[in-house]
Amino acid sequence: MPERRNIFVLLISVLLCFAAGAAALFLSSCAGKKDSGKVIFRGAGSWEIPPAFHGNPWAPGGVGSASWYVHEPLFMFLPGNRQFLPRLGLSMKESKNHKKLTVKLREGVKWHDGHPFTSKDVVTTFIIGYLHHWAVWQLLEGIETPDEHTVVFRWKKPCPHLFKTRALIEKIHSPSHIYGKWAAPIRPLMKKEAEYLKFRKRMGYSAETRKEGAAFEIEKEKKAVREKLYSFKPVELTGTGPFKLVTVTASDMRFEKFAEGWAAGKIAIDEVQMARWPSNEIIWAFLIAGEIDAAHPATPKEVAEQIIKLNPRMKMVTPSDLAEFGLVFNLGREPMSDLEFRRAVATAIDRDLVRKISYYYGTPVTAYSLGIIKSQRSDWLSPETLQKWEKYEFNPQKAEEILLAAGYKRNAKGFWLTPEGKKINLEISTLGNSDFVLGADSISSQLVKFGIDCHVRIVMGQLYGTKLTSGDFDMVTQFLGDARRYGDPATVFENILGKGGYISTACRFPEEVKGPDGKTIKVHKLAKELREYLPEPRRREIIRTLSWVVNKYLPILPVYEKNMLVFITEGKRVSGWPDESHPMWSAVSTGMEGVYISFMTEGLLKGKP
């Protein structure tokens, strides 16, 4: 009921702020009275409100933000120094042909219910992951367990960094003594499916048609296993992580240190309390009250300054989220299909102003449109290479010249008309997130000022994907160069230029384009090749070529590289936050809570001095 939701827009927000403040004060007083001597860390997160909350990480709803405190991956990947930080895994070794990855597991690790953690638990998690289309299975042939503390990943082809990372950073959350009964029926299905795929590859389309029944049967059996698995909703949440979930309510979660955890000796935090994160305004209120030790809400400049001003113990760190925010153009629609028009639009927008207004703490991207995020640009493209490529710096005069040269003209009111004399009217579709909406509004205002009639339409999350894939838009705001979790350009180009990529499908990017030398560049093929194990020179060559394609043909226009804005309170309840240069901060895109947990397990975060 939108009407009801907005009638008392201010009243609700003020009440919520009071409620958040009151809850914070209540938590504060409780902590003071009951937990004297305990070191408590306060964060914020989201989860299903009880009784909907359950302990099955596979079932719909999941376990929310509790996951990072309770579950652990084999390794934590730090894009900052491209190192793997041991968690449940101790060491790893790759075979010379990169088709085998052997991981030695930490010994003596226990699940929260007392069962020992073994290699069987890793296999169980990955087998159930197969049922959920985990991307790692595109290359993974199988997992072996030579002994209780060794896991061997066997790959179909030499494994690149991307897939190795995918395997190593997945959280191991399905103990075989609980989830083994669901993993068991999946094994024969995997074999059946592998045989079917081999057959299909060998016999071609006509055979596939004859075998359609087999594919249908496999899907039916998978669905049956999934349904049984989803109906399992335990009250307890079991993991190997450093904290045990004690209570869950509608407003907060409480965790206690797992005394038998492998890192218990290093962890100085006795308890974690998590406030519910319904929206950013509530978290701002918590931060203003100084009742949260760490949170990362997207925050406008003035609000961030106000939070810091009122909390002298608080500071901000802004590590990269390894993704760029910007516009996707629909190349399937007039006039966006005209490269000259896209060039003019790119030059008519003051991207730095958009950044300042919508997400001040982002890193400006003002010259090129490369796909590769700005912080990783120098790893792949030399300044000499970039110097030869076209820049799209803010220059309304140049934008006007581009349009005039392409046959566009202005009407009496100053608005641009197509070469056919039709008034241009564009729409920017955007999600309702504050940074997206403010960014879209800023771009729209600038285009209107330049003479391109433009307005913004908010699209609900449920309809956003359909809108993009159906091509029902002129421009959309979106995360573009998205290297989150893996820090690998292969995921960026798979998304922007790959066959079936989210953005390439949306913007209708062609399969082939002309290269700088007039030769055809097969972009889908190159994007696919980049996901495979390649010699470094070839990998660099492909990245350079695909970056050139993005910059030349402009399917996207990046505006800023998103930096997470993390507020941390030093010395109130906890202390020892490392400064921004610490490589652990670079893992924020894998999950912020994972970074906090790593600081704890490494013994960096301690009680107040």
């Binding site: 207004i357 403010l438 205002s445």
Partner: protein, 290 residues
């Protein structure tokens, strides 16, 4: 019941009644002010939506009498230009909603029988079907770009309650002498509905008209957030939403005027409508005149 001989005399008489009711006169002044703002305002005060980062969240000054917003744009200009759409949507929604409600409620009450039953079921459907999923479907199918279509969408969900109430009122009026006489005289339904029954229901109708207009301003924000209509940052409701949620102005002392300006404009407009309604009641019901 007032039955003036001609429209001019009727208007003058109505104005005199309102003039003698201080509250209603205040309401009238407020409404005239807002109507002037919505009609002449945009001609007199140009809208400059250029963004200036260094000027964001400025307090009131001679250059910007109500300060500036999150993008350094003048708030007063936005209020003036936003008033056109806000008032059009508010009044048009109230007009369409009331019109449908009168048509359905009065006809159902007067005709009765199976027609009444059918109308009641339609009303029940509109009252019980949650409008949120319907709006989502609307948003995925239709594109609405003008305030009148916008008002029609809002009105589509605001009439059933009033229609049901009007039907109940008509059922109680139905057996009054003046209606019975009209029936005996074989007057057409149109005459009975609009000339006999409707004037008696006018005070009630006016209050609901104002309520619908008020509701339309706040509902329009929801409709924009659903994506059914394009986002308008000069819409007062959306300005308030931006100040509270999107830009965090609620937490920034220097942004107080960005928060308060649209809020006060909405409050004043709604209070003006409520005050004016008390005068309208007196026009249609002489017993209320002091």
């Amino acid at each position: 019941m007032i039955m003036p001989r001609n429209t001019g005399k009727r208007l003058l008489e109505s104005f005199t009644i309102i003039k003698h009711n201080r509250r209603a006169f205040f309401g009238l002044c407020v409404l005239v002010f807002f109507i002037l703002m919505a009609t002449a305002g945009p001609v007199v005060i140009p809208l400059d939506m250029s963004q200036d980062f260094l000027m964001r969240f400025q307090g009131p000054s001679w250059a910007h009498i109500l300060g500036t917003d999150f993008a350094g744009r003048d708030i007063f200009q936005q209020l003036v230009h936003g008033s056109t759409d806000v008032l059009t949507i508010a009044f048009a929604t109230a007009f369409f909603g009331s019109f449908i409600a009168v048509l359905v409620g009065l006809s159902a009450g007067l005709v009765g029988g199976k027609f009444d039953m059918l109308m009641m079921r339609i009303i029940d459907i509109f009252l019980t079907v949650p409008n949120f999923p319907i709006m989502i479907i609307f948003a995925s199918i239709f594109r609405i770009n003008d305030p009148i279509s916008f008002a029609l969408v809002l009105a589509a969900w605001s009439w059933p309650g009033l229609a049901r109430a009007l039907r109940a009122q008509v059922l109680s009026l139905k057996h009054k002498e003046f209606v019975e006489v009209s029936r005996v005289m074989a007057m057409p339904y149109r005459h009975i509905m609009f000339k006999e029954a409707l004037p008696g229901l006018m005070p009630y109708l006016m209050i609901n008209f104002i309520d619908m207009a008020r509701g339309a301003i706040t509902a329009s924000v929801g409709i924009m957030l659903l994506g059914l209509v394009p986002l308008s940052v000069t819409n007062w409701g959306m300005m308030l939403n931006f100040a509270t949620f999107q830009t965090g102005a609620i937490y920034v002392p220097s942004a107080l005027s960005y928060l308060l300006s649209p809020m006060l404009a909405i409050i004043l407009f709604q209070y003006g409508l409520i005050c004016f309604a008390s005068g309208v009641e007196e026009i249609f019901d002489p017993r209320l005149r002091s």
